[in-house]
Point group: C2
Chain length 380, copies 2
């Protein structure tokens, strides 16, 4: 080999799982496809559009698999994040978040030349920037007004505030008011099914009240979009949302796994980090080659996964930058050998995808494909 | 613009700081260069080699600036991480960690064809893999035996265990025993100067005892390497280490900033994340465009930085995936305007660098250069 050196791929189609160079992010395709099918079927049964959130996976191949099953488009959370999905041919994208400033408005306006694009607003100055940029680019853009239904993050307070922004939008012929964005992330991880049901009901009620007040003022919302993987069963049944935007259901994570999913709509762990035992000391330790730089730990440490379940023997107890420390649940039990591969369920899927360039798609003990996580790092 | 769309750069040389598209990782060059100069001068005054840890920054331009000032080489933590530094012409690299398995051994052996390379071992099977791979590649490789001086992570227990591995190494003419790796990460963030001094003294004493026992057995350690940014003043003065490997001192982070640096060797915050206010509600909120995907929060939330100090008015209180929530320290004070840029000091520099593709190098209010963070994501 001559300079510049290139890193060999972590895996190639056809490889046995044991041949994957670790750490590597894996998607178990059978479970993943069952997750996609279940969500699509539930949305169709409810007569609600499914617009999965691609901020979770950042992977065009996954978005295309979602569209193929009937998703109406995707959400992204940042303007830059849309780029690889536009390049991959996704025809309809919602930036489910506000953008600020002329540079981002110019990017949004350029994206709108290539795709049916919507973006959220919660302030008149965002509308002014987008109006100027779309006028310069010659593009058409749909706007959703975000309403605050309890997150106290982005969004306006009530129907009159929505109405005031709609008046601003209507001053620009290339902009179109399309409806409302209403998302409440904080309830997605309420552990009990009944608590989540009640909280989602409250969120839908607040959203519905704004829709009703706008209708009374003569303003029709073509789209009311929101919901997430933790509440989607209730969001679909609410009669308020015309569209739901779950993301994490594709692969789930350890944190979502701690939710009690008592209802019929359940999803399986399909996302794993393959790691290897890289040090064993004198047989008294188990150190993995995967830490903070391969796994997001903001929502808790990963689970160790063995034969379809959380390991009954091993527990991942601490993440250093590049190392994971594993303890035995029962002292004296056998430890994994140096070099043995262990699969981990990441604590939080979204920022874990954001650490990896490639997703190794596996099925029946073999690598089937390697999918680029093309929007990894696109946070502008 | 035609497909495929490309994301414009966050900044170009000559841009005003206000023109930087956020979130973007910044390096304030004046403070950065003072940090490099101070560390190099301290190492030279102590007669100890400086081998900065590139796992902190993953940026070849920074490594070259360190070498230019007299660093003897760099450390990396993973075999794959070495690749962009080899490609950039760094002549001497220590992989300060164990590698496991034939795929990684093959990569190490290939790297050793292009650079003076050392790697750590703590088990005979790692040596066997490296011996086979270097024999196949026709390369020469130096090995350091890692000793456990209290981290209880990697490393062997004592001098006899080192000696046993040295015998394995000596069976292979293309492998060379070069000395000891001895690192104690857990003491780097002890807050009090005296506690850190005592803990570093204990670590150096344990390391020195192994060196002495090996010498008594006729084994000379050409290199004894260890230490970090939190303890480097004591590591340099210990008389035990021939080489130190601090990383974070280049830019510091909020967590290191909480250490009490009573001694003469202090470093400045030079690493910032530029973010923008993207939502203000009805004037009652401040939401930034930078959350978990732009900033590592494993060691705490970022500080807000204003005019060379932690902000007296604003506090970053929570990180969502793509949003940061900012509160006022005193209710009723003025809030930053929509679109205003705020600079954050990341809680933990190493995994924050690992989220970004580019580092915007700034000086005197202007962008001076954009440096690729080429080893970002290289965790294998």
């Amino acid at each position: 080999m001559t300079l510049p050196l290139q890193l060999p791929p972590a895996a190639r189609p056809g490889d046995a799982l044991s041949a994957i160079d670790t750490p590597a992010l894996l998607l178990e395709l059978d479970a993943f496809e069952r997750n996609l099918d279940r969500m699509q079927a539930a949305a169709q049964a409810a007569g609600v559009a499914l617009r999965p959130h691609a901020k979770a996976h950042k992977c065009p191949a996954i978005a295309l698999a979602q569209l193929q099953r009937g998703a109406v488009g995707i959400c992204v959370q940042k303007a830059s994040e849309a780029i690889p999905f536009v390049n991959a041919g996704v025809p309809d994208i919602l930036i489910s978040n506000e953008t600020v400033g002329p540079a981002k408005a110019a990017l949004v306006a350029e994206l709108a030349r290539h795709v049916r694009l919507s973006v959220c607003v919660d302030h008149a100055s965002q509308i002014a920037d987008l109006a100027a940029a779309t006028a310069a680019a010659g593009s058409q853009l749909s706007l959703l007004v975000e309403i605050n239904i309890g997150q106290n993050r982005c969004g306006v307070a009530d129907a009159p505030a929505v109405g005031a922004l709609v008046s601003e939008i209507q001053a620009h012929p290339q902009l179109r008011f399309k409806g409302l964005q209403a998302y409440l992330g904080s309830i997605q991880h309420l552990r009990s099914y009944e608590e989540r049901r009640a909280a989602a009901g409250g969120a839908a009620e607040r959203t519905g009240a704004v829709v009703k007040a706008l209708a009374a003022a003569g303003l029709h919302c073509e789209v009311v979009t929101g919901g997430g993987s933790g509440t989607v069963e209730f969001d679909l049944a609410s009669g308020v949302y015309t569209e739901v935007q779950p993301g994490s259901y594709i692969g789930m994570d350890a944190d979502y796994g701690r939710n009690d999913f008592a209802g019929s709509l359940r999803f399986e762990h399909a996302l794993f980090l393959a790691s290897s035992v890289m040090s064993v000391g004198n047989g008294e330790r188990t150190v993995l080659d995967a830490g903070l730089k391969s796994l997001a730990v903001d929502s808790g440490l990963p689970l160790i996964w063995e034969q379809g379940h959380e390991s009954a023997k091993l527990i991942y107890t601490s993440a250093n930058d590049e190392h994971g420390i594993v303890q035995l649940r029962e002292p004296g039990a056998a430890r994994p050998a140096l070099g043995q591969q262990l699969w981990l369920v990441p604590g939080h899927c979204d920022p874990t995808f954001n650490l990896h360039d490639d997703l190794i798609a596996v099925r029946a003990g073999r690598v089937e494909a390697v999918w680029p996580i093309s929007a990894r790092g696109l946070s502008r």
